[in-house]
């Protein structure tokens, strides 16, 4: 479904080259819910933008159904972390959800049906006429999810969508993502820096290294399909898996530090000042 092959992204910034993503290869199968987790600043957002066609990779490619992604692909929707900056504040909730459908050229009756259905799915059937800024943060993110759902994507990319909401809202939203994924059979790629969230949500977790990013580890989450915040999170298997992911991330961070110190050692060896 979604193939990331040898993806590399470097930024050219004021005379020096910054390598954000070094070499990423992984696959997301149709209907899978995959979580990408990595230390903060590991180029997750860069990766997501490359997959969403918002950023061109320096080398390597992203394939959606075998077709290289060169711009935002039609069958893909993105939920951004900054819900307050992603919803249009001059439009009411229903208008926000409807706008992409209008631009798609769908007939009015179908648009209305999709909007109502999407808002009901995220638990906001009565918010259609409100402005986004009249809602709480968690509700705004639900609207953003509804907008993505109404768009009927094959692949849903979520970029740390719950990083800015409080813990209880977050738990509710995590369950919402699981439910929507199970009900609608869409492929979900969920980027997060929260290990528990990744293990709780995912069928599979891809652990990324620190920047310049490579795939540190991939593991299958063999927890039961029916998960709930209370029991899943205290099950022994959950603890094992999260410990494993945690260790991998720590290893990634250590490797990154070792990498920088060898670099500076090499620089010292050349008789040039480090840094």
């Amino acid at each position: 479904m979604l193939d990331i092959r040898g993806l590399r992204k470097t930024y050219q910034g004021s005379g020096r080259q910054v390598e954000a993503v070094r070499d990423l290869t992984f696959t997301v199968k149709a209907g899978e819910l995959v979580c990408l987790v990595g230390p903060s600043g590991c180029g997750k957002t860069t990766l997501l933008k490359c997959m969403g066609g918002l950023l061109d990779p320096t080398s390597g490619e992203v394939l959606l159904d075998g077709v290289p992604v060169t711009g935002p692909p039609p069958g893909m929707a993105i939920v951004f972390q900054e819900y307050g900056r992603s919803l249009f504040p001059w439009m009411r909730v229903a208008e926000n959800v409807e706008l992409p459908l209008k631009e798609k050229g769908l007939p009015k009756a179908k648009r209305r049906r999709l909007v109502t259905d999407a808002l009901r799915s995220v638990g906001l059937p009565d918010a259609a006429d409100a402005y986004p800024w009249q809602l709480s943060g968690g509700m705004q993110q639900r609207v953003a999810i509804a907008r993505a759902l109404a768009y009927e994507p094959q692949v849903l990319l979520m970029d740390e969508p719950f990083a800015a909401v409080d813990a209880q809202t977050r738990a509710d939203l995590e369950d919402l993502v699981r439910v929507l994924w199970q009900e609608r059979g869409i492929t979900v790629l969920f980027v997060t820096h929260d290990i528990d969230e990744a293990v709780y949500l995912g069928e599979r977790v891809v652990v990324l290294s620190a920047s310049p990013t490579v795939v540190q580890d991939e593991l299958y989450i063999d927890l039961p399909d029916e998960r709930d915040q209370l029991h899943t999170r205290v099950s022994p298997r959950f603890t094992e898996l999260r410990t494993h992911v945690y260790e991998q991330i720590q290893a990634a961070k250590r490797a990154a530090r070792a990498d920088t110190s060898t670099l500076s050692a090499a620089a010292d060896g050349d008789g040039r000042p480090a840094g």
Binding site: M76, A77, I78, P89, P100, E103, Q134
Partner: protein, 258 residues
């Protein structure tokens, strides 16, 4: 209800006090250039109703409206173009800064040379002064559209006209409205100035005529009328803004609360 009364009292209070002071200070005046306010107010209705309303006030207001509308269209149109393209912006900015720095009244004699002394000249003068705040504010507003919103639009394939209509212009609208507000007062000033230079009707023209014919109380009524006109226009503007930017004020209030 009580709050409303309070608001009205607050709004009317200072003007009432100032008028009272003017009334008292000028009441016994025998200076022909400073007639008592009583005389000015008594003259007002006879000067500005009937024939002169049609022959001077309406033409002035129409020219203002035409010039202002022209400036709005050109300013928002060009500003959107310049603001959306970094290259165009870098290319145009020095020239814009220069043109903006030229005081618009100085253009009156120049514009008179090729546009004559008719309505065209006055509309062009008003437009050429009003366009700058609209243009520059639009450029800024369009340039500052939030990057996440831009990416959202891109990922949902909102492009072309839809992008302009649903993203760029609404996002820039608070800035555009700020520019339009500045332009409104500039427009009134230029309306009067263009009529004082060369005209055969209009409020500015009439005020100068009164002064030259020593009809001093009549001249003063013209000044009051201009003040009143400016006030009414700004009240109308305020209401229009509340409508158009309702979302913006709501958004700001909600971010202040949280």
């Amino acid at each position: 209800m009580k709050a409303l009364t309070r608001q009205v009292l607050f709004a009317v209070g200072l003007p009432a006090v100032l008028l009272g002071l003017w009334w008292a200070a000028s009441d016994g005046s025998t200076d022909p250039f400073w007639p008592p306010l009583r005389t000015i107010l008594r003259t007002f209705p006879s000067v500005w109703t009937g024939e002169r309303l049609r022959s001077d006030v309406v033409p002035s207001v129409l020219r203002l409206a035409a010039g202002y509308a022209l400036a709005g269209l050109v300013g928002v149109g060009l500003g959107t173009l310049i603001g959306s393209r970094r290259g165009v912006r870098a290319f145009c900015e020095p020239v814009l800064e220069f043109l903006r720095a030229v005081p618009p009244p100085v253009l009156v004699p120049v514009i008179m040379l090729f546009a004559g002394i008719g309505d065209t000249m006055k509309i062009v003068v008003i437009a050429s002064g009003c366009v700058w705040p609209v243009l520059l504010n639009t450029v800024e507003g369009v340039r500052a559209v939030d990057s996440v919103m831009v990416e959202t639009a891109r990922s949902y394939h909102i492009g072309g006209v839809g992008r302009l209509r649903h993203l760029v212009l609404p996002a820039a609208s608070p800035q555009i409205v700020a520019g339009l507000r500045q332009a409104l007062s500039i427009g009134i000033i230029l309306m009067v100035i263009s009529e004082m230079f060369a005209a055969n009707n209009g409020i500015g023209f009439t005020v100068v005529q009164f002064q030259r014919s020593f009809a001093i109380p009549d001249m003063w009524t013209g000044i009051l009328l201009l003040g009143l006109l400016g006030f009414l226009l700004s009240v109308a503007f305020h209401f229009a803004e509340r409508r158009v930017l309702g979302w913006y004020h709501g958004l700001r209030a909600s971010t202040r609360r949280s």
